[in-house]
């Protein structure tokens, strides 16, 4: 028996390793997605003034700081018992939508996309964004430019793009001026054009070519969690939870009831916990008979929602559902779903900028400390994000619970790794291309191990260990 350790898992955010145990005949006996770090935000946020948490919890993730910033500001609204003015809410939504465009471009073109553009078996030295820049300089420049446009828009709207400061308890600290709106709007239109190009390009040149890989790699059967409005439309900023079973039936709940529905399980070989749907029975990652397992992030959001509110993205959703049905279980289609969401958010940015109310100066109400509990959720790019705070009468934090997007996907990632490894490694035969395809199953989830290891440290080490049938590690691959 041998063990392959794949370390570090690369082109994901944060650190993890994958461990693969092979039996005597060289087939996969077991696999582990080991997350190797922990940071302890839930501990060291205790004692801080609660209004400071939107400026502390952002550092859980520098890739999706806006998601933590907004979830934290919303939990603050709940703690203080206030509702932000309409313009304050719209400015938060505007920043959220801009941040989504930036992050989805980042993930598809800088991280996962190289597997499709350069090919999953391409040499590792060119299977990256620099390889894309050299092979396709025109597309590469557009990618770099349009991701950066998102950052520039956020800079104009909010001053600080990464680890933002403007979502405050009671609203948004900085109103948007007419001059700033006029500056941002052409940038937003350019990103919308790019989003249209991106999905058309990917459908024609990338996904069609790798459909067999999509249909076989990392495929598992799970439930899904996402956020919808009362009429079932996807909403990334606010709404109710819709928890869908693998058969497509679902139940809905308000996020302040989340502890009734979601439990977290611990395994000894990873710092990262495993959220699961408590009411579906005991936690099990058995590929043939999983229990309690649901997924979040793009694939899940498009599965649970009935429709999208913007016209171009809705048309794409219809085409996607026509092809793959609902719910979609094929893991690599996270990437396709991500490009539909890129388009949705690009449309949403333009829509919000054209809303006359966006430049209202009524963006914030004052708040007064009190002892209370506040639970809030947003959809982060990587999945449903829950911040739950309790305070004393002086507004100092007494308890914090966080469940972040990637953490929900911990069990599904582990299962997809196992499925991919079992499918791809036969009779002891594997090479860097095969191991990369196993990593592709991980990348599809766009895991953010910084986010998910908020608990103590920031690093998910994906280390892939291949072991022989005696449990001896024969090879180790890691990020």
């Amino acid at each position: 028996m041998r063990t392959i350790t794949l370390a570090p898992v690369t082109r994901i955010e944060g650190h993890a390793k994958v461990t693969i145990h092979l039996d005597d005949s060289g087939n996969v006996a077991d696999t582990f997605f080991n997350v190797v770090e922990l940071r302890g935000f839930e501990k060291f946020c205790i004692g801080r003034p609660v209004e400071e948490l939107p400026r502390i919890t952002t550092s859980i993730c520098g890739v999706c700081p806006w998601s933590h910033h907004l979830a934290s500001a919303k939990a603050n609204d709940a703690v203080f018992g206030v509702t932000p003015p309409s313009a304050g809410r719209k400015l938060r939504e505007l920043c959220n939508a801009i941040a989504f465009t930036e992050e989805h471009i980042l993930h598809f073109f800088f991280l996962a996309g190289a597997d499709f553009v350069m090919g999953p078996d391409a040499d590792y030295s060119v299977r990256n964004v620099i390889g894309i820049l050299q092979a396709h300089p025109d597309i590469g420049r557009q990618v770099v430019r349009n991701r950066h446009l998102g950052a520039q828009m956020l800079n104009i709207v909010s001053g600080k793009t990464i680890h933002p400061v403007t979502a405050v308890p009671g609203g948004f600290s900085k109103p948007l001026t007419e001059a700033e709106r006029d500056q941002v709007l052409p940038m937003a239109n350019e990103v919308l054009e790019f989003a249209k190009f991106a999905i058309a390009y990917a459908k024609e040149n990338l996904f069609a070519k790798y459909l067999d890989l999509v249909e076989t790699t990392g495929v598992i059967t799970t439930g899904f969690l996402g956020t919808v409005t009362d009429d079932g439309t996807m909403d990334l900023y606010d709404g109710k939870a819709r928890l869908m079973k693998p058969d497509g039936t679902y139940e809905e709940f308000a996020y302040d009831q989340y502890t009734e529905y979601i439990g977290e399980h611990i395994e000894p070989w990873t710092y990262l916990k495993f959220p699961y749907a408590k009411k579906w029975g005991p936690f099990s990652m058995d590929l043939d008979n999983p229990s309690g397992i649901y997924r979040t992030n793009t694939l899940a959001r498009l599965n649970v929602c009935d429709q999208l509110s913007t016209p171009l993205a809705q048309a794409e959703l219809e085409e996607y559902r026509e092809k793959f049905g609902r719910p979609v279980q094929l893991t690599l289609l996270y990437n396709w779903a991500r490009l539909i969401e890129l388009l949705y958010n690009a449309e949403k940015v333009v829509e919000l900028l054209n809303d006359p109310e966006i430049t209202s100066t009524d963006t914030r109400v004052p708040v007064t400390p009190r002892a209370a509990r506040g639970v809030a959720s947003v959809e982060a790019p990587r999945g449903t994000l829950i911040h739950d705070y309790e305070t004393d009468e002086n507004g100092l934090v007494t308890d914090v619970n966080l469940i972040v997007g990637t953490t929900h996907n911990n069990a599904p990632i582990n299962m997809s790794v196992k499925q991919a490894a079992q499918t791809l490694i036969k009779d002891g035969n594997y090479d860097q291309g095969i191991l990369n395809k196993i990593e592709m199953a991980i990348r599809a989830y766009d895991p953010c191990l910084s986010c998910s290891t908020h608990d103590l440290s920031g690093r998910i080490l994906v280390k892939l260990e291949i072991r022989d049938s005696q449990g001896e590690v024969i090879e180790t691959l890691s990020n």
Partner: protein, 317 residues
């Protein structure tokens, strides 16, 4: 010959890596001069060989090494030492690498207290033992990179500023050294200061600062003088981005109508921002004792290098 660059991220959020991308299109002009040999966020170079065939962790030789993040576990310590061994010039990128960053707020607690909270005292978690199989043990606290190995260049900030990364890389490509001038955020802040507070008590950010929207920045009064605790006086300048060719440089949070929280760290090595801030507050006629959660607030980004450590539990007020 392009310069070989290795990049590693340790106890991170990834914000400093995104900041490298936030250089934008000018990054494309720099790329031909840079040869990235190792960078887990963007490329697939593996520690143990591409199929895990090696026993020992290896990072390729590089002219320039960039490390973001503080050092939290045994493996990161090992990686930090390997980077120092293989890289000619070592850059600590961002306040986590320079000073521990926000994760070093954990240094206020013993490690076991973190485990206890996360694995045994969380609302949604079935209590269990702390995971310990096949994962690197955590160190007792968060360390800045220079507590483990010598660092040549410091580029602080949470995250840092893309303009500074460009300046540092260009200096290194030209064979020059790079260091930020010892100026404070206040030195570059355009708000109006009258050297004394408008009166009253120190305020938390529970309502809006008085901001003259759409007018020149110097029509708006300094936030600290308005009574909102602002760490500008004790924080290194460098976060601001110049607004257009003739525009002013505005510190990022000030632009967002929020006071500074010190993310660029101290103005000079060895400074004690906590003591300096208390005297800055007093000097404009405010009462420094009114600052809520003073120790954590004034050391928010700089808790490594033994600035934050566990204190005995104090009785509740």
């Amino acid at each position: 010959m392009p310069v070989k660059v290795a990049e590693e991220w340790l106890n991170i959020c990834g914000g400093c890596e995104v900041t490298i991308l936030d250089i934008g299109e000018p990054l494309l002009d720099l790329l031909p001069e840079l040869d990235f040999v190792h960078m887990p966020v963007l490329m697939d170079h593996k520690y143990y060989g591409q199929t895990g065939e090696r026993e020992e962790l290896e990072i390729p030789e590089a002219d320039v090494g960039i490390i973001s993040g503080g050092v939290r576990n045994e493996e990161e310590k090992h990686i930090t030492e390997e980077m120092r061994k293989k890289c000619g010039t070592l850059i600590a990128l961002g306040s986590c690498a320079c000073y521990g960053g926000i994760p070093a707020l954990a240094n206020m607690f013993p490690l076991e207290a973190l485990y206890q909270k996360v694995y045994r005292e969380s609302k949604t978690t079935e209590p269990g033992d702390t995971p310990a199989e096949n994962i690197p043990p955590l160190l007792d606290r968060v360390y800045a990179v220079d507590e483990i190995v010598p660092v040549d260049v410091y580029i602080p900030g949470c995250p840092t500023n893309p303009d500074l990364i460009v300046k540092a890389l260009k200096a290194l490509l030209a064979g020059e050294t790079f260091a930020l001038p010892e100026r404070s955020v206040c030195d570059e802040c355009p708000l109006k200061r009258e050297k004394k507070a408008a009166g009253g008590a120190i305020k938390r950010t529970l309502d809006s600062v008085d901001f003259k929207l759409g007018e020149p920045y110097d029509h708006t009064r300094c936030f600290m003088e308005q009574g909102y605790l602002c760490l500008g006086p004790v924080t290194l300048a460098g976060c601001g981005h110049k607004e257009g060719d003739n525009g002013v440089t505005v510190p990022r949070c000030i632009k967002g109508h929020m006071p500074c929280r010190g993310c660029f760290g101290p103005i000079r090595k060895g400074a004690n921002p906590m003591v300096d801030m208390m005297s800055a507050i007093s000097s404009i006629g405010l009462d420094a004792k009114q600052v809520e959660d003073r120790r954590a607030l004034l050391n928010r980004y700089i808790g490594a290098q033994k600035r934050l450590r566990p204190l005995p539990e104090r009785p509740k007020r």
